[in-house]
């Protein structure tokens, strides 16, 4: 729902022609998820669907019908890459698995994204994004610093885990495409969301097989700094070196307590950590997030502000880099959205079109690309094929 579409969005945004195939009349699941324009649910006004499908073409096709599957095969003949996120073997069961499709197109790179992969005892287990995130080990240690010891572990906010899977799927797909361009040969790529998310968590998971330690929500912590509350939010302070500490003391206008013997070096500050943290927090609570961030960074202290979406939109840094773009959508109007984190000098991010309406490009693809006549199209529409 998110990982697969995000994978192909990354490709579409860099110039690939991505055709999104949706079920007639129903469409992608993300159409039924918010944020909706004015918070009124409508399949053509989902901000989630919009973000995940920029620059794509959209067609409808009923794969439950033999004729629909024939059309699908025709499309596969003309394509470099197929990304799908149905349950394992769901496409095989209707004759559209990789082994059949490669007969039609030996160059095809096919990427399947499922919760637990195509093999193994859990391959048919059901999992929504909540479950896949908790299946990877990072949920168990979230949130660190254990603010409420009796409460459950957490997933990362919104669909963050799904986006992370999408990036890894896009990377693997491009590796397949690079190889295809070298050799003319396609291949099959099996992405397990669980393993992709384990992939982002290995730094901490490695503690167990290599040191015998099981990280928990309580094992993360800083002796000085970390996430701390301030007057109007939270800041992140990373004090790793003596120089960082000196900068922090300067930021606080050199308070008397900071000069005490017992806070003189890293080991002693670690020993009196609780005291240092309390004194630091007392100071932070008098100051705003933005002030601490800006003044701290000017003193070269590694400090960050915990920005909300609104703060991102107001950030002079993001504005100056043109991180946001406006796209016009026929049912939503102007939408300001995030672009991409990379500025590529020769292959820039493009804002060619907003997310497609359901079946918006049926005529473009079926009539102009595959050569079906307008009468054929009307017939297919009547039969519920498209």
């Amino acid at each position: 729902m998110v990982a697969g579409p995000y994978c192909t969005k990354l490709l579409a945004d860099l110039g690939a022609e991505v055709t999104k195939i949706e079920e007639p009349g129903i469409g992608d699941e993300s159409r039924s998820r918010g944020p909706f324009l004015n918070e009124i649910p409508h399949p053509e006004r989902s901000g989630l669907f919009f973000y995940l499908n920029t620059n794509k073409l959209g067609i409808t096709l009923n794969l439950g019908r033999a004729q629909g599957r024939d059309v699908f095969r025709q499309l596969v003949r003309e394509t470099d890459v197929l990304v799908e996120d149905r349950a394992p073997r769901a496409l095989d069961s209707i004759g559209l698995g990789y082994d059949s499709l490669r007969q039609l197109n030996s160059r095809l790179v096919m990427t399947s994204i499922t919760p637990f992969g195509q093999t193994g005892p859990y391959k048919d287990y059901k999992a929504y994004p909540l479950n896949t995130f908790h299946s990877c080990g990072e949920g168990y240690v979230t949130p660190g610093h254990n603010p409420f010891p009796n409460r459950p572990p957490l997933k990362q906010g919104r669909y963050v885990g799904e986006y992370e899977v999408g990036i890894q799927s896009a990377l693997a797909t491009l590796v397949g495409l690079y190889h295809q361009r070298m050799t003319g040969l396609g291949q099959y790529i099996d992405i397990s969301k669980q393993e992709a998310l384990i992939g982002i968590s290995t730094a901490e998971l490695s503690f167990y097989p290599n040191l015998g330690l099981i990280p928990t929500r309580g094992t993360r912590g800083y002796t000085v700094g970390g996430i701390m509350p301030c007057k109007d939010g939270f800041v992140e302070i990373c004090i790793y070196s003596e120089q960082d500490w000196e900068g922090l003391v300067k930021l606080m206008d050199e308070p008397e307590w900071a000069k005490k013997e017992k806070f003189k070096d890293i080991p002693s500050r670690a020993e009196y950590s609780a005291e240092v943290q309390q004194l630091l927090m007392d100071w932070l609570m008098q100051h705003t997030m933005e002030d601490i961030y800006q003044r701290g960074q000017k003193l070269k202290v590694p400090i960050g502000a915990y920005y909300s979406p609104r703060d991102l939109l107001n950030s002079p840094q993001l504005k100056s880099r043109g991180f946001f773009a406006d796209l016009d959508h026929s049912m939503i109007g102007k939408v300001t959205c995030a672009t991409a984190p990379y500025r590529c000098s020769k292959t820039p991010w493009r804002a060619e079109r907003a997310a497609p309406l359901l079946g918006e490009h049926n005529e473009t693809i079926y009539h102009m690309r595959l050569g079906y006549s307008k009468e054929d199209l009307a017939k297919m529409r009547g039969l519920g094929i498209i």
Partner: protein, 404 residues
């Protein structure tokens, strides 16, 4: 043959995100040369940033993280503070296709290794720079580590309990940034296949984090609604949370979307009388009364282990998966069958367990061939074989602390 066999990559900068980017390429067959020096070692050699600082392994310059993030790479030590070191770096660029660096913006330029200069040496070079805020803008020179760019990116603000603080997110963000960088590099390699031209890519780590909350950003620009933390909650589904299980700090995640799934869950629980209560009669009511629903479900889940619940509920067609910890993942039958763990023999650390690359490619699989290198392990090979320096020249450069 692996997909990226024949692609030569250089890595500068010694931070985690850059190391992860080139690790992805190395696992797919690229030859990656990591350039560091004893004066400026990789961050994983000198500290284990953030967590468990006391646990740096006995060998002072190799930790299990150095191994894990540098699998399959070659390693040279080159003093970039020395003009001769810079000259050698340029010779390495000449035999490379891709250069990934994560120094602060401007550092490569000041050393004479900026893109405009290197392009003269190697016209079709793909150079990718990773920094916290990107190369340009008023905050380009600001510094930070993963927890800072996940905070600035907005991911930390949206993670946590509604009545609790924002959440510090560490390593996963570094890995995500590194993976994004590897993706952008592949896109540039494909462009070069087609056009013959290289390019420069400026990647901002905090923007990479912001891209993961793109839908929340649109909620603000479209509706003016500034989202906040929702714990494990979902906007449509309930139950949708982690529930306590038998044992200490054991939890199962359960998510129910359809009425069918709800009846299956009720049946698995033995259809207790509360399930027919009007408060839980349909999806909308369950969502409205989710806190009470969670109390009832928790009472039931507490009687079983999380593995028992997963198997029982999955059999009934309900999405239920434990919130696994590191120990459980390492012995889980599903992951074992899929080959999660790989043991490599590291020259100073001995047997080290690492995690196999997640994407399974059928004809060009990722492959772990060598452990993470020790400092300067491949000096002789790279300077001698690849750059054709004589043993005497290499010895002189070592004496002059150019190779060191």
């Amino acid at each position: 043959m692996q997909a990226l066999s024949g692609v030569n990559v250089l890595e500068f900068g010694g931070m985690l995100a850059g190391a992860v980017a080139t690790k992805h390429l190395a696992l797919m067959g690229a030859q990656v040369i990591k350039v560091e020096s004893s004066k400026r070692m990789d961050i994983t050699r000198v500290q284990h940033p953030g967590a468990h600082a006391a646990l740096i392994d006995a060998a002072p310059t190799d930790t299990f993280m150095t191994n894990e993030t540098n699998l399959n790479k070659l390693d040279v030590t080159l003093n970039l503070g020395n003009p001769e070191g810079i000259r050698l770096a340029k010779r390495l660029v000449k035999i490379s296709d891709v250069l990934v660096e994560n120094f602060r913006p401007g550092v490569m330029d000041r050393m004479g290794l900026g893109y405009e200069t290197l392009k003269e040496t190697k016209p079709d070079l793909i150079m990718l720079s990773i920094s916290m805020a990107g190369d340009t803008g008023p905050e380009a020179h600001y510094t930070g580590y993963a927890p800072i760019f996940s905070a600035l990116g907005g991911v930390g603000h949206l993670t946590g309990y509604p009545d609790g603080p924002a959440t510090e997110i560490r390593f996963p963000v570094d890995v995500m940034v590194g993976t994004t960088a590897a993706f952008a590099t592949l896109a540039a390699l494909i462009h070069r296949q087609q056009s013959g031209e290289g390019q420069y890519i400026d990647l901002s780590a905090r923007e990479a984090a912001s891209c993961l909350i793109g839908d929340s950003i649109i909620d603000y620009t479209m509706n003016g609604r500034n989202q906040s933390r929702e714990a494990n909650r979902d906007e449509i589904m309930a139950p949708h949370n982690c529930y306590p299980c038998k044992g200490e700090d054991k939890w199962i995640s359960i998510a129910v979307k359809t009425d069918d799934e709800w009846s299956s869950l009720c049946q698995a629980m033995g259809n207790p009388s509360w399930t027919s209560d009007a408060r839980f009669v349909d999806g909308l009511n369950r969502l409205r009364n989710k806190e009470e629903l969670d109390v009832y479900i928790s009472e039931w889940t507490s009687q079983y282990t999380h593995y028992e619940l997963m198997h029982m509920l999955q059999k009934a067609g309900v999405a239920a998966v434990p919130s696994f910890n590191a120990e459980e993942l390492c012995s889980d039958p599903h992951l074992t069958e899929r080959g999660l763990l790989v043991v490599v023999d590291h020259p100073t650390l001995g047997a080290q367990t690492v995690f196999s690359p997640p994407a399974k490619l059928s004809s060009t699989p990722a492959n772990i061939s060598t452990p993470g290198p020790t400092l300067g392990q491949h000096n002789q090979y790279i300077f001698g074989e690849l750059l054709n320096l004589s043993p005497q020249e290499i010895a002189d450069l070592m004496d002059k602390e150019v190779i060191c």
